[in-house]
Symmetry: C2
Amino acid sequence: MTAYDIIEKKRYGKELTDDEINFFINGYTLNRIPDYQMSALLMAICCNGMSENETFALTNCMLHSGDIVDMSKIDGIVVDKHSTGGVGDTTTLALAPLLACCGVKVAKMSGRGLGFTGGTIDKLESIPDFNTSLSQEKFFEIVNKVGCCVIGQTENLAPADKKLYALRDVTATIDSIPLICGSIMSKKLASGAQAVLLDVKYGEGAFMKTKERAVELAQIMVKIGNRAGKKFAALVTDMSEPLATKVGNSLEIIGAIEVMKGKRNRLSDEMSLVAEKLLVLSGKYDSESARHAVESALTDGRALAKFKEMVEAQGGNTIFVDHPEKFALGETKDVTADKDGYVYSMRTEELGKAVTLLGGGRMVKSDVIDHSVGFEMRVSIGDKVTAGDVLVTVYHRDKNTDLVCDLIKNSIEIRDEMPAPKKTAYAYVTENEVEYY
Amino acid sequence: MTAYDIIEKKRYGKELTDDEINFFINGYTLNRIPDYQMSALLMAICCNGMSENETFALTNCMLHSGDIVDMSKIDGIVVDKHSTGGVGDTTTLALAPLLACCGVKVAKMSGRGLGFTGGTIDKLESIPDFNTSLSQEKFFEIVNKVGCCVIGQTENLAPADKKLYALRDVTATIDSIPLICGSIMSKKLASGAQAVLLDVKYGEGAFMKTKERAVELAQIMVKIGNRAGKKFAALVTDMSEPLATKVGNSLEIIGAIEVMKGKRNRLSDEMSLVAEKLLVLSGKYDSESARHAVESALTDGRALAKFKEMVEAQGGNTIFVDHPEKFALGETKDVTADKDGYVYSMRTEELGKAVTLLGGGRMVKSDVIDHSVGFEMRVSIGDKVTAGDVLVTVYHRDKNTDLVCDLIKNSIEIRDEMPAPKKTAYAYVTENEVEYY
């Protein structure tokens, strides 16, 4: 078996065996197969695809390239969610305590933000003294006691993916369903939760540009997850505008607290849907009882109390939970509409860049984050606006402020006509069926 | 313009501009673009192809990456031929003097053999004292005086191709018509001849496995050559058995001398056809007069006299031309038929390995070549044989002898049925038409 023969086989669109996939991925991870051979194979996979069997073998091999978290020390069922990446996707922050209130465990390991994607860990660290670097023992202890805990991802989770992703990122081989599946699912399976809900975003700023491809990705990921013996399902959701109205590190914590206080908006709707689906997936609820459990935990204050309990357990200053107005925020500057009309579309990916440009994200790992910056959406798609109306309020510290205001203005399209109404959730994908909303 | 964007464009099957191709190829040649990005682009080209415009831009860019030989100091029209690689392809050795006899110039720069392909330079160096490393002045002087000269290729001919080929060789990206075209045509155009006949081989042991793909490759190469302002045409020929009966370094010189003495066989037939086509391409002959000129130069001894003149001009010992029996050859060992039947097929590529295994080729550049080894085919496809008949006589120096005899025996298939008759030349491809034989 040689790397050459394996590349050639895939170049002609033939199905690789488990042994061939293991040989190549392990060889690459151990630096026995060079980058230039891996990038040729990756491009051949992009062009010719992979079967379900190949995708399963790829995922499995990447999964076993590093640590696999053993959650058996946690009492009860551990659930998790994964988003393929969205702007203002604050779901996790309120979801974790909400689910814990409903009797399932959330032992979440999250990543830091890099490039134009915000990280849950960075957001939580807006809360003074919040500790995201706990030992595994302490982590499990908090999960067992509180019901939820969010820490930083272990360095050695699916290292094969880390190496592969860096190469894909510079060889235009990101956009491939089997490769995206392998990357996401190897990490999710290594994270150890028993029931996982995937949130597959589609739209201009997402990996998947169309609904159809998002459903296709969701289907293969759910199949691979179930084949690995876990319970997986997926929501396919629209990313045509930021999910939360408040975007940025401290701002997203504030937004999540508002939701836990019972505020209804796109974020709370999507989070409630994710929570319901996860409760059903856990086997402890049916749809009706799940909806009721979520609704009541959000409205009777239990979710917020649980969040405070988690912040306390992780060393954070709970005054900020009780008084979110204490968060230091940047100076404000409004971006206004140039003309009358309807908010017709947004370039969400461009909006996502704003936080990083303001200093709230990092372009390289060593960048220090300013938690006080970000922006607040004052309009949604479909809103009628008059010239001069505020579209977005920017929170800044005099870094790239004008650039960001221009960027935001250019990312929001105002037209005379009303846009067609859009639902946030497009489909729900389980092992055997796709349910369209 | 970034390497990433160019890879992505080709990955989605879009046409690259001249600027994009120049940016990528020049960047790679100057080590500004790394191997892993080039191999991703190469695989995308393998999977999605290239248009004629892209192929022309690729060829042109590779052509200008190094020296371009200026043949203006040679009086009269300079012709050249190129074979895509065959076993026992001794054509050049007799073709050069033959063409010189017919009033066109042959200023040939040839490569050395590497891997399982024999090199014309290695063959000529079988003649004691034959000098293939001449200065350009001396080279042109001999061409002007004698009419032909064969020397080693300059190191700096299309260096972009050298770097690209090494990468393609380890990433399963050899088999691509635009890439093969770019590789061959950049070197041919840099070599400076005004009229070139391409010999595109097809069959199991050739780059092109089918006749149809060989015609396709021939067509694009002829188009690119003519677009570059030169006269190009191509023969598409079968490689189902070695072209010459004698294969090896000294053995091929002996075989070429036999042809120049008027012997008729597959080699002389193909060489005569190549010579006729080149004379017509040069514009100095029509088909009828070309055929006559070739025939008479071979039968009246002028071709052999011209060969001797060239050997002398290049310092070689002409006694070996007059008395080819003086060449030192290895010990002989016969490979015989195991059963009665017809010689049905040969694995020509395997036969090509025999010479290298016997010590007559090099696996790495520094290997020293034994000119005395090789083999002589005693049968052709379609011959009737009886068990015990000699199929091949091996000339060896006790290196891998048994291995090679087994390899040869296993490469010649004997069946009860007669094979369908095959013509050596399948098609003749010019700018505007394909003529099938």
